[in-house]
């Protein structure tokens, strides 16, 4: 038996990987310079970034914060590059609150802070469920804070819902849900149309609890966008659900009405609807009615967003497996129960990304009101540019406004991603 001396009997120690394949160098090699094309791309991008940063940084940080006109800014800068942030500093309150009276800024501020309190339990379900009561009350509180006036107007409006609810509750066992619903709605309408006014006046006479009233034409800036955006969001979701159900319905007439409405709204640009709001809406209403432009715009924006919302939710409804509908039927649930307990929770979950992006779109679209001469931030930007002191200012204003919008929209889109991950129950 010959010995095989050329076969190694002991293992060689493991060698470290080459220095160029691990650590930062390895990462750079793999991710930035993996081939000649990638290397060229990396270098081009680096050059672009360096150019952009070297132009933007001095401009941004060399900015002047205290000046009263563009020419004063330029004097201070003495030919150096630098932004004239003074325009933001000087017009900040205008850009945020519009013509809202100075001494009342606490009211929109408070409404803004409370908005987060109201929205928090909707966004994060780790919070106590009792907080949802505050969310339901928030629209009324916000209306009172922003517009002012006696508190009783808002209270009786709220009472209308309460009355309707209790009417429904008590009548349902007696009359069945459909009749009870109709009567509940009727009771609410009767309360609002005939009784609410006198009751509010009476109460205001007894307990004169009131805030200084502010007309809505004083609204402006970011506050106007937020008001329009939040109203649109709050109003468009329920309306969108109803329209989506109408479109999916077997009832031919209901279906064609929904389809007609949705396709009409989606077929025309928002600006034409805003033109309707600013010039035509009063023509369609009974002679003599004249309610203010902001309210008219709110109605139009809500209708507009509702049509888009309906399509998003319809997508969610269509994506549900047919078995879910059949299972709900098999359990003997009626239409509304099936929708409420089985279909809608799942359909809404599927459509979350679409719903949030509709919200983002709606919030961005509120800028269009500057075209019908309401003063949101863009409207003010135009006005400031036309001003003798700030004529010729471009970048600072628009960069600031873009940044404000970006923060809101970007955080909304991130939230939707977070929610999608959280609600992901599939495999």
């Amino acid at each position: 038996m010959r010995e095989t001396s050329y076969v190694r009997s002991e293992m060689l120690a493991e060698q470290a990987p080459p220095i160029t394949n691990v650590g930062p160098i390895g990462w750079i090699k793999e991710n930035l310079f993996s081939g000649w094309l990638n290397s060229i791309l990396t270098i081009v991008m680096l050059v672009l970034i360096v150019i952009a940063v070297s132009a933007a940084f001095p401009w941004f940080f060399n900015g002047i914060w205290n000046a009263s006109s563009l020419s004063e800014c330029r004097e201070i800068l003495k030919g150096d590059t630098g932004a004239c942030w003074a325009v933001i500093h000087e017009r900040f309150s205008q850009l945020m609150y519009g013509f809202y009276p100075n001494h009342l800024y606490w009211r929109p501020n408070l409404a803004f802070v409370l908005l987060f309190v109201a929205v928090a339990p909707v966004l994060f379900n780790g919070l106590p469920r009792k907080m949802l009561w505050f969310s339901a009350l928030y629209p009324f509180i916000a209306v009172w804070l922003l517009w002012g006036g006696p508190v009783w107007g808002v209270v009786v409006a709220l009472l209308g819902f309460v009355i309707g609810f209790f009417a429904f509750r008590f009548l349902e066992p007696v009359l069945g849900s459909l009749f009870a619903l109709i009567l509940g709605v009727l009771a609410t309408l009767i309360w609002w149309l005939f009784l609410a006014g006198p009751v509010a006046n009476g109460l205001a006479g007894i307990v004169p609890l009131a805030l200084e009233p502010v007309e809505s034409r004083k609204f402006g800036g970011l506050m106007l966008s937020m008001t329009l955006g939040v109203t649109g969001i709050v109003g468009s979701l329920p309306l969108g659900i109803v329209l989506a159900l109408g479109r999916q319905s077997d009832l031919v007439i209901v279906k064609s009405l929904s389809v007609g409405f949705i396709e009409f709204i989606r077929g025309v640009p928002l600006i034409t609807l805003l033109i309707v709001a600013s010039t035509l809406l009063n023509v369609f209403l009974p002679p003599g009615t004249d309610f203010d432009i902001i309210l008219r715009v709110m109605i139009m924006v809500t209708l507009f967003a509702a049509a888009y919302m309906a399509e998003v939710i319809r997508g969610g409804l269509a994506a549900l497996p047919k078995g879910q509908y059949e299972a709900a039927d098999a359990l003997g649930l009626d239409y509304w129960k099936a929708q409420r307990l089985i279909i809608m929770p799942q359909a809404l979950k599927i459509s979350i990304p679409g719903i949030v992006s509709t919200f983002i779109g709606l919030f961005k679209d509120t800028t269009l009101v500057s075209i019908i001469s309401l003063f949101d931030m863009l409207g003010f930007a135009k006005a400031i540019q036309a001003n003798a002191e700030w004529q010729g200012i471009v970048w600072e204003l628009y960069v600031f406004i873009a940044f404000v919008f970006w923060i809101f929209c970007f955080s909304m889109s991130r939230y939707s991603m977070y929610l999608e991950r959280k609600l992901q129950t599939g495999h």
Binding site: I49, G267, I271, T272
Partner: protein, 423 residues
């Protein structure tokens, strides 16, 4: 011993309209219809009363009257003596011009950015992500007015070109000034001329000239395409019969390019460059700031959305498809063109078309920068001058609806065609 009997035939009672599910749906629909009709009647009644109080009637005769205003950016002849209808027509063409130019540019940028976002190059992917997130989270109206302000405030003035402080780009062919961009125009020295169509209709409102040169070029080009298709079909037949595919790419390219070039030369095609003469540029096409700002801003904004659509479409194709194709022995370009793209396109196309639709509707923001599109003419100056709000808005909405519905019918047709037939 049981016998099956029919269920007792209940005679129709009024309460069955509500409690019997067979009749309830009819009841609900009738109630909905009556409610809807009452609502419409109420609106129409209000409108008629209000118009009556204002002393107005609903009529469209004003469209035949002279408009009395000028439109500086236009594709067809127009003077302030032309009719309101013609102003609206000029506006409509302007809308379509921006929409088409915007769709082309947005698709180009969007596909590029979308593909680059999937790049393995970390830096490139990140830069493209920043682009997408910046552009789409800021209102498009802001981009439009921002760009407009940049163009008109920071671009060189005409007198800078006179003094030599600013120079034209690309070998004296393009001039960017604070009053717009001047680009070369196509000219034909042996032109076939124009043929005017729709002359004399509705007080000369809708006539326009169609360039015969363009028609000739297009005809030859399309003819080339058809012949090229025939060559491809022949090659397919040969491949099916013998297994060898004859090389045809030079032939196919040739039948398209050569005749088109010959026609261009025969027509005496050349470019007319803009030249600084006196106080202004002469020659070339003058794209005003409003057009440029609207076009570029809409394209950049929409491109961010298209990029996401393209990315999602490519990512949706599972890796197994590529690997299976590779296992069949297909080469990389064949895998792309035969396996990945057909599937990705099916996912990409519907949302892409709806982005085109959005872009087209967003062209109505032209009114913010003073570009005279259909909203600026019919829904802007014409409406304010004549006071015919109802008629103008109705027409305006009708036109937009027609545009939108035709785009979405194209989409539906495509969706039907490429739909996966399952089970």
């Amino acid at each position: 011993m049981t016998t099956l009997t029919d269920p007792p035939k209940a005679s129709f009672r009024l309460s069955m309209l509500i409690y019997d599910s067979r009749y309830r749906s009819i009841t609900i629909q009738v109630v909905a219809l009556i409610g809807f009709l009452i609502g419409i009647a109420w609106l129409v009644n209000n409108t008629l009363q209000n118009l009556d109080a204002l002393g107005k009637t609903i009529e469209f005769g004003f469209l035949k009257d002279p408009s009395g205003y000028d439109i500086n950016q236009r594709l067809i002849e127009y003077t302030s003596r032309s009719t309101h209808a013609r102003a609206a027509f000029v506006g409509l063409l302007n809308t379509l011009l921006v929409a088409v130019m915007g769709c082309v540019l947005a698709t180009t940028i969007g596909v590029f950015v979308g593909v680059m976002r999937l790049s393995k190059n970390w830096l490139v992917a990140k830069v493209m992500t920043v682009y997408v997130e910046t552009l789409r989270n800021v209102p498009v109206l802001l981009w439009i007015v921002f760009l407009m302000a940049i163009l008109s405030e920071t671009m060189p003035k005409l007198k800078d070109y006179k003094t030599g402080a600013a120079n034209m780009l690309f070998g004296n062919s393009i001039a960017i000034t604070n009053r717009g961009v001047y680009v070369p125009e196509p000219l034909f020295s042996r032109s076939l001329g124009d043929v005017t169509v729709l002359k004399g209709i509705y007080n000369d409102s809708f006539y326009f000239g169609v360039s015969l040169d363009l028609i000739a070029i297009l005809a030859v080009f399309i003819g080339g395409l058809l012949i090229s298709k025939l060559i491809k079909r022949r090659a397919d037949v040969i491949q099916a019969a013998t297994g060898d595919r004859p090389a045809t790419w030079y032939l196919r390219l040739g039948v398209i390019v050569v005749p088109t070039l010959i026609v261009l030369i025969l027509l005496g095609f050349h470019l007319g460059f803009p030249e600084l003469k006196g106080f202004n540029f002469r020659g070339g096409i003058h794209m005003r700031n409003s057009l440029v700002a609207l076009w570029i801003a809409l394209s950049l904004y929409t491109a961010a959305f298209i990029a996401e659509i393209v990315r999602a479409g490519i990512m949706a194709i599972s890796k197994g498809q590529t690997e299976a194709a590779a296992a069949l022995g297909l080469r990389a370009n064949k895998i792309m063109s035969l396996v990945v793209l057909p599937q990705a396109l099916r996912i990409i196309f519907p949302p892409l078309i709806s982005q085109y639709l959005n872009l087209t509707k967003n062209t109505s923001l032209a009114i913010a920068v003073g570009y005279m599109d259909i909203t600026g003419t019919l829904g802007g100056i014409t409406m304010n001058q004549t006071g015919r709000e109802l008629e103008c808005v109705l027409l305006l909405m009708l036109i937009y609806l027609v545009i939108s519905l035709s785009i979405s019918s194209v989409m539906n047709w495509y969706n039907e065609r490429v739909k996966l037939t399952e089970r």
